[in-house]
């Protein structure tokens, strides 16, 4: 590496004790900062709140930036619970769920009787993060939200949820981390509506704090839409409150990726550096890199869900960050964009190779591209199970690369190379039609 570049990437190691914040069930410490940006590597520790007959659940230690497993009603969409242990650990130990998934039941009393989400889902050694909104089953419906509560569009209908009801859910579900109720608005709302959303989100945060259960760390929600002033106002207010971390909402709701860095920076520059930050609505690799560059620590995995549904498998190289990938140009042009391939494509019909040779996931250890191609052709559910396993495994590795790059002081270089390579492939004129038609980039 040229010396100039090395100078640009000086790493500052913050004294751990100084940067560490300790709460009852959660600890977070920034280990490494990237000087050229805001990106950081941290360590999130959770002491599981659920106690099984006196035995303390093991502590979970996860390095950030990290991916949270997106779930439907607490379990991955397709990965069976007995296969979760095959995913990289501890990376896979943190799951995100939306309490809104349980609007049709089981009711709060039943969940409380069962003992909370850990018991409900049979995942005692795992950490659960409750976020009202996800990007799949529970979408904020800002036109129906009002001063009393936030509205969500779910497969079982539209629900208005008031802070009191929300806190009742949190108390019965006993997640390890939970996010305060926010009034998330789309990018197209008026200045007035955007201002109101910040006011409400702060009011509801105070309401949530006043009703806060004993266990579980609270992440305060920061909104503010596409206004730097409102974003900063909200961040300042939330930073004053007694919260364990921050949830940055309002993204992926009609905002453009090009402007997003401005709003992300506006928020993270205001927030205390020693506390973790989570985001929702940033899924694509480019978006994750953008979020990491802004100092985000926790991401959701809705991208994996969408890829999986459309038959895509992630394939970008993981061993050497800068290595030239894929010599088979024909394969590239037909079903690949350097980061992923579409296993529905007929080129894989007789392909007895693995999705990624050397990949240690259950899918690649056991099945070929040809088999998954067949499963997709005949609409068998096992296709989604196998793809979600591989894609999740692979995306965990992507996050590991990001952490390594930050630790080694090469994050900006890594980010640029990654984005350039993917852009080249996305813009290639020979790009297969199946790729262009899909909503997943």
């Amino acid at each position: 590496m040229p010396p100039a570049e090395q100078r640009d990437n000086i790493i500052i190691n913050i004294n751990e004790a100084a940067a560490q914040t300790q709460f009852q069930n959660m600890k977070f410490a920034v280990k490494t900062w990237c000087k050229s940006g805001r990106a950081r590597v941290g360590l999130l520790q959770l002491k599981c709140t659920s106690l099984v007959q006196g035995a303390t659940s093991p502590e979970i230690e996860i390095e950030t930036p990290a991916l949270l497993l997106t779930t439907r009603k607490g379990l991955p969409a397709f990965i069976p619970p007995d296969h979760l242990s095959f995913l990289p650990s501890p990376d896979s130990r943190l799951l995100q769920f939306s309490p809104m998934h349980f609007m049709e039941g089981p009711n709060s009393k039943t969940i409380s009787d069962i003992g909370g989400v850990h018991q409900l889902l049979g995942l005692q050694g795992y950490g659960f993060v409750a976020v009202p909104r996800d990007s799949i089953l529970s979408l904020p419906e800002c036109s129906s939200s009002n001063k009393n509560g936030a509205s969500f569009e779910t497969p079982s209908g539209r629900f208005l949820v008031k802070p009191l009801e929300y806190m009742k859910m949190i108390s019965s579900m006993k997640p390890d981390l939970w996010v305060s109720l926010a009034d998330e608005v789309s990018a197209s709302v008026t200045v007035k509506r955007n201002k109101a959303s910040v006011d409400r989100t702060i009011t509801w945060l105070d309401h949530c704090i006043s009703l806060k259960p004993r266990d579980g760390a609270l992440f305060g929600s920061v909104v503010g839409g596409c206004s730097v002033e409102e974003r900063q106002r909200c961040a300042h207010e939330v930073a004053k409150r007694n919260v364990s971390g921050y949830y940055i909402g309002g993204f992926g709701l009609g905002d453009s990726i090009d402007e997003r860095s401005t709003f992300l920076h506006a928020v993270t520059d205001v927030l205390p550096k020693e506390k973790p930050r989570q985001v929702c609505g940033l899924g694509l690799p480019e978006e994750v890199l953008q979020g990491v560059a802004a100092g985000i620590d926790l991401f959701d995995s809705t991208y994996i869900y969408h890829l999986t549904l459309e038959g895509f498998a992630l394939i970008f190289p993981l061993n050497d960050k800068c290595k030239q990938y894929e010599s088979d140009t024909q394969l590239c042009s037909m079903a690949s964009d350097y980061t992923k391939i579409n296993l529905k494509a007929t080129v894989y019909r007789k392909d007895a190779s693995r999705i990624v040779e050397g990949c240690e996931c259950y899918t690649c250890q056991n099945h070929t591209k040809a088999y998954i191609n067949h499963l997709l052709n005949v609409h068998e559910m096992l296709a989604q199970i196998l793809l979600e396993i591989h894609n999740t495994h692979h995306y965990f590795s992507f996050f590991r690369l990001i952490r390594e790059a930050i630790t080694e002081g090469k994050f900006e270089e890594f980010r640029q190379k990654f984005i350039e390579r993917r852009r080249e492939h996305l813009l290639a004129p020979s790009l297969g039609a199946c790729e262009l038609q899909t909503s997943v980039r």
Partner: protein
């Protein structure tokens, strides 16, 4: 005599019931055994790891579906179905004939074979006994089935006789066409409808061919239960003791217990996985409909006596919110239902070996019929099987009275 790729050793008996070790090229199985149906090279919603975990010994693949997609040629090119789906244990494929007759209204059977309209381009196609075997040779299952002339059991008249004799003529064509007898076992299928004379002629004809195993076909097609068990009882009585007996398309847990008492060894049915997708769980008491509103707040597992991953971890209340809505609902219920069927097979095997088979049958019937109202056909079958179920069943006379008074 023919080459065989299996060994069948009876380890224990109770009257007609037997527990055996069936050594197939890919797996050493224990009978009585239940074969989950993996139509398209996968059991819906389960990984092969999970199937091994729950003790699945052999999976059934449907030749008709596999021949359409991904095609038997492709499976062959990629090293056979075991390798294609990465299933190290045993496999069985059907002949494809039954699927055509049941799925395609335009299938027609002639002496040459089954003619049908291609679902791909609508052109008329012909599946001959030779071709069925050739396809199954390419797929490479441990057990392959002869192409038979399938007629509905509810049909009567000369068509039944024609189908039985044709099945016997076709078995010779199947045997002649079979190219891998050292690696694959060809089972013949007993036809003959509900007619004992025809069934007997068919059994004798097949036994003369000395096949590695025999199936009782043409059942589970809507016939009354009394006719059903009588055909099974008749066939098992005259089939050789030293060969496995497979009752095709059966069945419900009760059917499997009855057939095992009568001396049958192998079963297959889509019921456990299909019913799971509609939200129904199999339990010792019968079935549990998880969609029912009463499940919404029920914090118990599906079955407190079940040791499967689902029952160890999940409540009825949680499954209630998943079933018929989320993929995970049918995944978890299919897992439990198959575990239930495989555990039933294991219990049948061990109770026969341990000499406690009648106790097992009585316990099974007691849970399913707590009022003692064991169906008459079950009582009759158990009498023939020499299993005393008086401790769990209301005597036949009083049952007839109940029947008369309530009817």
């Amino acid at each position: 005599t023919h080459t065989m790729a299996l060994r069948f050793e009876v380890l224990g008996r109770f009257n007609r019931a037997r527990a055996a070790r069936l050594t197939l090229p890919h797996f050493l199985c224990e009978t009585p055994l239940f074969m989950p149906v993996g139509t398209q090279g996968t059991i819906k919603g389960l990984t092969t790891h999970q199937l091994e975990e729950i003790g699945c010994q052999i999976i059934l693949g449907n030749t008709y579906h596999l021949a359409l997609r991904p095609t038997s040629e492709l499976i062959d090119d990629l090293g056979g179905l075991h390798k294609f789906m990465n299933w190290p244990r045993a496999l069985l494929t059907d002949s494809g004939g039954f699927q055509m007759v049941s799925l395609l209204h335009l299938a027609d059977i002639t002496e040459e074979g089954v003619t049908f309209q291609s679902p791909v381009d609508g052109k008329p196609m012909l599946l001959t006994p030779e071709e069925s075997i050739q396809i199954q040779n390419r797929i490479g299952a441990d057990i392959i089935m002869a192409l038979d002339d399938v007629v509905k059991t509810t049909i009567t008249g000369p068509r039944i006789e024609e189908a039985m004799y044709r099945t016997l003529r076709w078995i010779d064509r199947c045997i002649a066409a079979h190219k891998r007898p050292k690696e694959q076992n060809l089972f013949g299928i007993v036809q003959g409808g509900l007619d004992p004379v025809l069934r007997d002629i068919c059994v004798q004809g097949l036994v003369e061919r000395n096949l590695p195993g025999y199936a009782i076909g043409g059942l589970a097609g809507g016939e009354d239960k009394d006719s059903f068990w009588r055909v099974v009882a008749q066939c098992t009585a005259s089939l050789p003791e030293s060969k496995p007996r497979y009752v095709m398309g059966v069945g419900y847990p009760l059917d499997i217990v009855v057939c095992s008492a009568l001396g049958a060894d192998m079963y297959d049915c889509v019921y456990p996985t299909r019913t799971a997708r509609f939200g129904t769980a199999l339990v010792p008491e019968g079935v549990l409909k998880l969609k029912h509103q009463s499940m919404a707040d029920d914090t118990r597992p599906i079955d407190s006596t079940c040791e499967c991953m689902v029952c160890k971890n999940y409540t009825r209340a949680y499954l209630h919110c998943l079933v018929t809505k989320d993929a995970m609902g049918s995944q978890l219920l299919s897992y439990h239902n198959l575990y239930y069927m495989l555990q039933l097979s294991r219990n049948l095997h061990s109770s026969i070996i341990e000499g406690t088979f009648p106790n097992f049958v009585c316990d099974f019937l007691k849970k399913m019929f707590p009022e003692g109202d064991v169906p008459e056909w079950v009582c009759n079958a158990m009498e023939v099987a020499g299993i005393d179920i008086s401790s769990c069943s209301t005597p036949l006379n009083s049952k007839l009275n109940i029947h008369t008074s309530s009817g």
